[in-house]
């Protein structure tokens, strides 16, 4: 595998994005802001402090992670699928020295880059609103990237499996939305039934939200080694899978 050629694929997507970013940035930015305003200000008025944080301070670092998650997911489901099946971008690239694995790596890295872009922007915004309490906040950045890699991988796996583009509905409704709602982003899961907690332990977003919150608030006692271990484990297991599965779907 030649990294330089994978970066060419990344660069192709970046070139396209540079042309369209104004409209897509605004659109992707709108949704997380809506959550912050609706839940933070709206619901926040009815919620007492959680672990010493105002409700807005409690959810803001989580929104950073969830926007990173959705950014990579949109890119590597609909985006990749259209490039592979409808636009024949993959076919065109396969006539050049770029190999299929390099093409997949380029898509994976691009999806992760989208996470980094959107996660960082939300992070900057919440800092400007004074919702970040600690300099440790900078440690969130590598975890935004980790979030990108994990969900780009999961999304590429979905892309390899779906029979058609409509089937992504299932991926979002039955998989990503539950992960999002039960990630501990909007409410602490600790008080809920133990089943919820057990399921949360295998939800990568749950750990990423915890990490993000701890660094943003500057309280390391909120996280443990387990949170890092789970993320590390997912980073080890997930990224190789799209290479195998997409190859099976695409190559003749």
């Amino acid at each position: 595998m030649n990294i330089k050629r994978a970066l060419r694929v990344w660069q192709r997507n970046a070139t396209v994005y540079k042309k369209l970013y104004r409209s897509s940035l605004a659109l992707n930015f709108f949704e997380p802001m809506l959550y912050l305003i609706a839940f933070g200000y709206g619901l926040g008025g009815f919620v007492k402090d959680i672990k010493g944080m105002s409700y807005l301070e409690f959810i803001a670092p989580g929104i950073v992670m969830s926007s990173a998650m959705f950014a990579a997911s949109y890119e590597c489901t609909y985006g990749t699928y259209v490039r592979m099946v409808y636009q024949k971008t993959f076919d065109a690239i396969m006539a050049t020295p770029v190999r299929f694995n390099e093409l997949v790596l380029g898509e994976l890295l691009w999806g992760s880059t989208k996470s980094l872009i959107y996660g960082s922007i939300i992070l900057i915004v919440i800092s400007l609103f004074g919702l970040v309490k600690s300099n440790l906040v900078l440690f969130i950045l590598p975890f935004i990237l980790a979030c990108g890699l994990i969900f780009a991988s999961l999304s590429l796996i979905a892309t390899a499996i779906v029979p058609g583009i409509e089937s992504f509905n299932y991926f979002y409704t039955l998989f990503l939305t539950p992960l999002f709602l039960f990630s501990g982003l909007f409410f602490p899961l600790e008080g809920l039934s133990s089943i919820v907690l057990i399921v949360a332990e295998i939800n990568p977003l749950y750990h990423l939200v915890k990490i993000s919150r701890a660094f943003s608030y500057g309280d390391i006692s909120l996280i443990s080694l387990k949170d890092f271990s789970v993320i590390f484990l997912y980073l080890l297991i997930l990224p190789p899978l799209p290479f195998i599965l997409l190859r099976r779907k695409y190559l003749l």
Binding site: N2, R12, T96
Partner: protein, 240 residues
Amino acid sequence: MTVVKGKNLTKYYRNFKALDSVSFEIGEGECFGFLGPNGAGKTTLMGIIYGFIEFFNGDLILFGESVNRKNFPRIKFKIGVVPQDNNLDPDLNVLENLIVYGRYFDIDPKEAKERALKLIEFVKLDNWLNRNVRHLSGGMQRKLTFARGLINDPELLILDEPTTGLDPRSRRQIWERIENLKHSGKTLILTTHYMEEAEKLCDRIAIMDRGKILVIDTPHNLSNNFGGNLEKVYLSLTEG
């Protein structure tokens, strides 16, 4: 020197045999044509030669090297492709389409832009440089795809129905360019449904049907041996 050699090339799509033990040799500087009805296996064969199709049986030897996963990327720097489906990048404009494609061949951006501008001028799309390729007519897209295939200045050019959908003047321009490429020593592989095109450009022709090569010879010999012009030969040999 033999530039392309296929030995017993066979391709199955699931249980369907699209190519059936096809063998041929193409020499340096030669223009080699593949004729045959729709579904004969021409595009499949092209796909094997330019590395789009990974799984097949038989041997493919390019520039004297038996290709495998390891050496194919390096060999591909010398190959230009005009695929049957244009597959231009609809997210990019005319100029960007060639420059971005050139990047996959590690052509430096300045050089790529120079080459792209020349090629775009040649196919007479210079007034469309900054237009999205979706706005181009079918024939214009075809010409741009032809230009894209030349961006890496290939030694071997694979043309899968290069002039399908072109108006007569554009077709003649492409023919002229193909002849120029031949004169400068490039090797060309061409598939076409136009007998006139095959007769005019090809040094040798293979006639295919149902995944098999029926005959390989010069256009002249084909006419002599089978009687009548190339179209008659084609119609008498193929069943489609």
